[in-house]
């Protein structure tokens, strides 16, 4: 009995201590799942003697919701997509830095410096960019796949075997491309059509999942999966006979960015980490792992051939992709309703 008490008392003391020891030599990352190799985190931790912890999210929207729900101030950096950087900036959730604070700032490719969502890069640095469309298992379907009909009006043999991403922004953007209507349209008829489209397509979809988007293709649970380009490449590497589509109606392009969060408990380490990721070798390590494309110059020598030549990372000249737009409050409300209608 006494022994149990003693053990417990020391455990309790450890708990309190674990909570007390904050800051100094720590870095808290809020990142997409399966998006950074553990070796790279270990390398950073060793090089700068920093203890790195990482939590993961599976959509821009859920990351925003969680930060809004009181997690802001507990993480140092996060990795939102383009439109989400803009939203977080306008919500005052980002801290700013001067380019001079990052010695590798010059490594950013010129076309990725003056971007619409963070002109001049005061809160963010490029992480990786890629595309979102869908992949089809070629064992189960031989027809033409370069059309969004595969998702929204699928041929009979694919119905009920489709997984879509659990991500509001990307799914509604792809649906808008399918309907050939502008994103974030304020036109009521177009919004109604958007709502009707996803409602009619829903019975064809077997599941909504982002985390399992790769696994359902590899395990054969789904024949079609809305998916990110690099994730599809990984599915292919893991043995699924899938082909990534560049639909003629268009597809989504995105850039994920490492942002400095407001009230970051370890701002210095966050900047060190961002600078670290701008090293060509490290940016290439992410690319080799996640199979997207970095926005950093000088990565070529470090890239593996498989990644350089992957069909997923080399879209054709046409059609072109489009970025997801951040909607105004009025339209966002309707989008939220469409999404809730869809998920219920």
């Amino acid at each position: 009995m006494n022994k149990i008490l003693k053990i417990s008392a020391s455990a309790l003391a450890m708990t309190l201590a674990a909570n007390g020891a904050l800051a100094e030599g720590k870095l808290s990352i809020y990142h997409w799942f399966e998006y950074i190799p553990q070796e790279l985190l270990d390398k950073f931790a060793a090089e700068y003697d920093v203890e790195v912890t990482m939590d993961t999210f599976d959509s821009n929207e859920s990351m925003l919701a969680s930060l809004k729900a009181g997690k802001l101030g507990t993480y140092d950096v996060s990795v939102p997509g383009d439109y989400m950087v803009e939203i977080m900036g306008s919500e005052g959730m980002l801290d700013t830095f001067k380019p001079s604070e990052l010695s590798n700032f010059g490594n950013i490719m010129p076309q990725w410096v003056d971007v619409g969502f963070d002109n001049g890069r005061h809160s963010s640095i490029p992480y990786q960019w890629g595309t979102t469309s869908f992949s089809v298992n070629r064992d189960n379907y031989k027809g033409d796949i370069n059309t969004t009909d595969i998702i929204f009006n699928p041929p009979a043999e694919l119905r009920g075997k489709i997984n879509v991403l659990d991500s509001q922004g990307e799914l509604l953007a792809l649906a808008s491309l399918h309907l050939d209507i502008p994103q974030c349209t304020t036109n009521r008829e177009q919004l109604k059509a958007l709502n009707a489209l996803v409602q009619e397509a829903k019975p064809y979809w077997a599941s909504f999942s982002s985390d399992a988007a790769k696994d359902v293709l590899v395990s054969g649970d789904a024949s079609v999966g809305m998916i990110w380009s690099g994730f599809s490449a990984k599915a292919r590497e893991e043995g699924a006979n899938v082909e990534y589509a560049f639909p003629k109606q268009g597809y989504v392009v995105w850039m994920d960015n490492v942002v400095l969060l407001k009230d970051a408990p370890n701002r210095d380490n966050a900047l060190k980490f961002m600078n670290f990721l701008l090293e060509p070798e490290n940016a290439a390590a992410v690319t080799n792992y996640a199979q997207y494309t970095s926005g950093v110059t000088g990565t070529e020598p470090f890239l593996s051939d498989a990644v350089k030549n992957s069909p997923e990372s080399n879209p054709p000249a046409t059609p072109v992709g489009s970025f997801v737009e951040a909607c105004s409050q009025d339209v966002q409300k309707v989008y939220d309703t469409i999404w809730t209608n869809l998920k219920k």
Binding site: I7, A11, T15, N19, I29, A69, K71
Partner: protein, 269 residues
């Protein structure tokens, strides 16, 4: 006699019991078997090996799971200790202190955590910590765990205490022992099996919790269940089978211990 036995027996009930056990154990046993699978794919059988156990302890994600296991252990020990203490005091109040104000409502309160659906408790706790501006971390997980461990610790403790007559304590009091002495030297040793059993149950309940922990955990803090859930969301990997088997064995060992301690106590009586 033959007739009586006949009445107790219904045809088909024995096979049903076997079916019940089969249904309960088959998935667990299959996971245990596949944890020894020497193959990168979880569905293809590639012969028997311990490679995934090696991966759990020395693989790429070993550090993450090790840290999660330490968190789980710290929280479980602390939550079980505090909740067992609280439950022991509560049982003494409910069973040994005669009447007092609010006694019947206190009984309902002890069992309240069992009645509120887990997801509701999780949501309420998250909103609570967010409202009072308390940064979530190990402490918040611990507090939430203590709450739902109390009724589980209370059950075996109260059951044991009910079985102990109070003549021993009364005798001690007659011999001028203080009430604290009577409690510490007489009652507590007598109900030790119940307390230990309660501690072990609370320990397991805390170790197992996923839903509430998932809501109240803070930045960068994972317990074993939340870490496993995070990994499983992206598909079941072979190393998850190995971790699951290990955790499963821990649970079985602790329940068996709790069961044996409980039995020991009864036999002594």
């Amino acid at each position: 006699m033959a007739k009586k036995l006949d009445l107790r027996r219904f045809p088909g009930f024995l096979p049903m019991t076997w079916l019940c056990l089969f249904l309960l154990y088959a998935p667990l046993i299959i996971v245990m078997i596949y944890s020894f699978n020497d193959s990168n794919s979880i569905t293809q059988w590639g012969g028997v090996s311990l490679r995934w156990y090696k991966d759990v302890f020395w693989g790429l994600e070993a550090e993450k799971f090790k840290l999660a296991a330490i968190h789980s252990l710290i929280i479980a020990v602390a939550a079980a200790t505090v909740s067992t203490t609280i439950a022991t005091m509560a049982a003494t109040a409910m069973l040994r202190a005669g009447r007092f104000r609010g006694k019947s409502i206190s009984f309902a309160l002890i069992n309240l955590p069992l009645m509120v659906p887990e997801i509701v408790t999780a949501v309420a706790t998250l909103i609570f910590f967010s409202t009072i501006g308390f940064t979530t971390g190990l402490t918040t997980i611990l507090m939430a765990h203590i709450v739902f461990c109390v009724p589980f610790a209370y059950l075996p403790i109260a059951a044991r205490m009910q079985g102990i007559e109070d003549v021993y304590e009364q005798a001690a009091l007659d011999l001028y022992a203080t009430r604290y002495q009577a409690f510490r030297l007489i009652l507590l040793p007598l109900m030790a099996p119940g307390v230990i059993s309660g501690f072990l149950l609370a320990f397991i309940i805390s170790l197992d919790d996923f839903i509430i922990t998932n809501f109240v955990k803070g930045a960068g803090i994972e317990t074993l269940p939340t870490a496993i859930f995070g990994a499983v969301k992206q598909g079941i990997k072979p190393n998850i089978m190995a971790i699951s088997t290990l955790l499963l064995l821990v649970s079985v060992v602790f329940v068996t211990l709790s069961y044996l301690v409980g039995r020991m106590g009864q036999n002594k009586k």
